[in-house]
């Protein structure tokens, strides 16, 4: 596989990720009120909000793991359940999901192949190296610490072809080098044309993103430049204090 450069989308093209009237209710409790969102190609978006604000719900529905009560999610104009959409979308949940009986290398090999790769691309080796887990490639993730499992999960999410990357709380359990490596990888993904949406509680990373979205009690309360989130989060914390 060779690197591809980002491109400018045609004006008539659908967005990389489009959320139309999306909502999720558990009984009469709203986890996410009706929400509309459009994320163009190659944009990086940070999603913030307190616990229970609906960040994970929104991302899980976008990834196709949760079913919406109403509305739909389109990836490249296709419904997110279709084969084409699944091929484009990579999802890194907040809790690592790894097989106990496959080594780290077997994970990246098979998952790469399942998404159309050859399973032996040199970039897979490099990915493990950059995340600092190349010396653990033949180990079983069941023997890993929380931080190593998180790094493995990141490798598994990035080892496959994708053009839309959804990431939920990726910095939990990561050491400083792992955190830096992940931030660089996310930057590169975006620079190479991928659309990146990251949900986080970490205010220190907000400035690395172009667009910032804030959710509160399941409602979208802010959508604008990411740097504006600092003021909003500060005001919010002051209110809470």
């Amino acid at each position: 596989m060779s690197p591809r450069k980002s491109r400018q989308p045609e004006i008539s093209e659908p967005s990389a990720l489009e959320v139309v009237g999306l909502s999720k209710f558990y009984g009469d409790v709203a986890a996410l009120e009706e929400t509309d969102l459009e994320v163009p190609f190659g944009q990086s978006v940070v999603l913030v909000g307190h616990n229970g604000s609906g960040k994970s719900t929104l991302l899980s529905m976008a990834a196709g793991v949760l079913e919406p009560t109403g509305g739909e999610v389109l990836v490249h104009g296709e419904h997110n359940g279709t084969l084409s959409a699944r091929a484009e979308l990579s999802w890194l949940p907040d809790n690592p999901v790894l097989y106990d009986d496959l080594s780290l290398w077997e994970h990246v090999e098979f998952i790469n192949r399942m998404h159309g790769g050859t399973g032996d691309d040199p970039f897979l080796d490099e990915l493990l190296e950059r995340l600092g887990v190349d010396d653990r490639r033949d180990h079983l993730p069941s023997q890993f610490s929380r931080g190593l499992r998180q790094k493995s999960a990141i490798a598994v999410a990035l080892c496959r072809p994708f053009s839309v990357l959804l990431v939920d709380e990726p910095f939990v359990g990561l050491d400083a080098s792992g955190r830096l490596a992940l931030l660089e990888l996310l930057d590169e993904a975006r620079a190479n044309g991928a659309t990146v949406v990251v949900a986080t509680h970490d205010p220190d990373v907000i400035d690395r993103f172009e667009r910032g979205i804030m959710l509160e009690n399941g409602e979208l309360v802010h959508d604008g430049p990411a740097r504006e989130l600092h003021d909003l989060l500060g005001a919010d914390d002051r209110r809470a204090g």
């Binding site: 591809r4 084969l83 192949r113 598994v156 053009s163």
Partner: protein, 552 residues
């Protein structure tokens, strides 16, 4: 360091979506499964597996010999044989209808497959046809269920020759055919339901209709149900009814359609199921009924209502009886599914009671089991306090006393359930006698049901006396058996006044008087259980002191 080419996956210049090489992707799934299977086989402790096979076979032989002794070998006379031939298919069919309903319910909740969480995340979200991914585990489950069903029912039916005559082999073969057909129907119906071709209420409605029809057929209130054709397969060695071929045909078609459409499985339901089914199985092996109840509710997504059905207990009453007021808040927040379940189970108690009155004595066990299940729902607030021993222990009152106060609300609920049961029995058979016998039955049913449920729930409380440690190991087995069987047995005891009333009625005496007379010992049993709930901790402490044990 060179740039990691993450966007080797990114949008191409030619089209926004990548062309997919599906055969290669499917092959990757196959290869990964093979690798995992090889590793699992390599990790197997073959000696332990052989020992398990040995003990299972031994247990099966002991069970067959025991069952054989229980059945006896006195041949039935011609009239009894004719009765069996007439009634057995409908009863077997009723059992089959219940099993099929269980399959459909499982399908409505993302089953009957229980995938690994990793498979849901990596395989169902991969750009590979989900039907292809799910077919292999579905075929495995189907084969396992058919084989298990065939062996189980085959062995059971193989014993029929002792009373009904003929060779064992045909009985075994027909029993096995019945079991395999039933398993295929249940799994097939589950797969089809989980594929979401229609709303889940459609198959659930069909499932319930089948059960009610089969019940009506078995008790003589409805024409022949299709499940009776299935039940007739068991008695083919005596009389072949070709209508039995119909369910066999359906049992072939249903799983096939299910396997074709299984790709429609809900990823959300599958995810929820992966997390809960493993815990559920573990809880079952530990006979941890409370955990089973809680996990089953999570699986069914039963959540308390945010808007209560009725307003809070008025202030003065709530201040005087805070535990009761808290418990009624719990009932006020019951989800609609739980309300419906309690009403349906209550009505079922009434219908089954009517069939018991008509002469089918063993149905008293079903009545008791139903009352016990409803009471487990009704006793939820007490169970929640038991789940949080820290909270219970922090109250400024003796724990046993608080637990006793928790029993008022479930008894009240069970009285309501009893009235529903009487109403259902009257609907089935509009006879004033139903009211005369049914109304005095309400109280013993409530006391015994709540008594059984209370024994189950309160047994979970750790008394801190460490009495398990001082028990001789020989007692552990019988004690476990007693703890498992006694609670539903208490609920069944609550139904015995109905049998007394029937006997009195047959003897030309007043059945209502008989119910009242027999209700007294049941209520006394209920009061004894209340006393046990109140003083259980003291009793355990006394035992521990007497035996020189006690908590460190």
């Amino acid at each position: 360091m060179s740039e990691v080419p993450i966007s080797s996956a990114g949008p191409t210049d030619e089209a926004s979506l990548r062309p997919l090489d599906e055969p290669a992707m499917r092959q990757a799934v196959v290869d990964m499964r093979r690798r995992r299977q090889r590793r699992r086989l390599g990790n197997h402790e073959w000696g332990e597996l052989a020992y398990r096979v040995y003990t299972t076979t031994l247990a099966a032989i002991v069970a067959v010999v025991f069952a054989s002794g229980l059945i006896g070998d006195d041949r039935l006379d011609a009239s009894a044989r004719a009765d069996f031939l007439r009634q057995a298919p409908a009863w077997f069919g009723l059992g089959a209808a219940v099993v099929v309903l269980i399959g459909i319910r499982s399908g409505a909740r993302g089953g009957p497959l229980a995938l690994e969480r990793q498979d849901v995340h990596h395989l169902l979200l991969a750009p590979v046809d989900r039907a292809f991914v799910l077919r292999r585990p579905a075929v495995g489950l189907l084969s396992y269920a058919c084989l298990g069903g065939a062996i189980l029912t085959g062995l059971g039916a193989g014993l029929f020759d002792q009373r009904l005559g003929g060779a064992s082999l045909p009985w075994f073969a027909c029993g096995a055919l019945f079991g395999a057909t039933l398993a295929a129907l249940a799994i097939g119906a589950g797969l089809l339901t989980s594929s979401r071709l229609t709303s889940r209420w459609v198959p659930l409605g069909i499932g319930w209709a089948l059960v009610l029809w089969a019940l009506g057929d078995a008790t003589g209130y409805a024409p022949t149900a299709p499940t009776t054709w299935l039940g007739s397969i068991v008695v083919w060695p005596l009389s072949v009814d070709l209508l039995g071929l119909v369910p066999i045909g359906v049992a072939v078609a249903l799983p096939l359609i299910g396997l074709l459409t299984i790709g429609g499985l809900s990823v959300e339901a599958a995810t929820r199921r992966t997390a809960l089914v493993g815990q559920l199985r573990f809880a079952v092996t530990q006979q941890d009924l409370r955990t089973v109840v809680l996990l089953r509710r999570q699986l069914a997504q039963e959540r308390p209502r945010t808007r209560p059905w009725f307003p809070a207990t008025p202030g003065p009453v709530a201040r005087r009886f805070p535990v009761f007021a808290r418990d009624m808040r719990s009932v006020a927040r019951w989800p609609i599914v739980r309300v419906a379940r309690v009403l349906v189970l209550g009505a079922s108690i009434g219908v089954v009671a009517r069939a018991t009155w008509a002469g089918t004595t063993p149905l008293v066990l079903v009545m008791g089991a139903l009352a016990y299940v409803v009471a487990l729902d009704a006793i939820e607030p007490l169970a929640q306090d038991v789940d949080h021993p820290g909270l219970l222990g922090s109250l400024p009152e003796i724990e046993g006393m608080v637990m006793v106060k928790h029993l008022a609300q479930p008894v009240l609920v069970m009285v309501g359930v009893g009235l529903v049961a009487v109403g259902a029995a009257y609907t089935v058979s509009p006879d004033p006698l139903v009211w005369q016998v049914g109304l005095p039955m309400v109280l013993p049913t409530a006391f015994a049901g709540v008594g059984g449920a209370a024994v189950t729930v309160v047994s979970e409380v750790d008394t801190g006396t460490g009495d398990d440690a001082v028990m001789p190991p020989e007692v552990a087995g019988p004690r476990l058996l007693f703890r498992t069987v006694w609670p539903p047995a208490v609920a069944v005891i609550g139904m015995l006044p109905l049998l007394a009333a029937r006997v009195a009625s047959e003897a030309g005496k007043d059945p209502a008087a008989a119910v009242t007379t027999w209700a007294i010992p049941v209520v006394v049993l209920g009061m004894l259980i209340v006393g046990w709930v109140r003083f259980r901790a003291d009793i355990h402490e006394s035992i521990a002191t007497a035996t020189g044990g006690g908590a460190a």
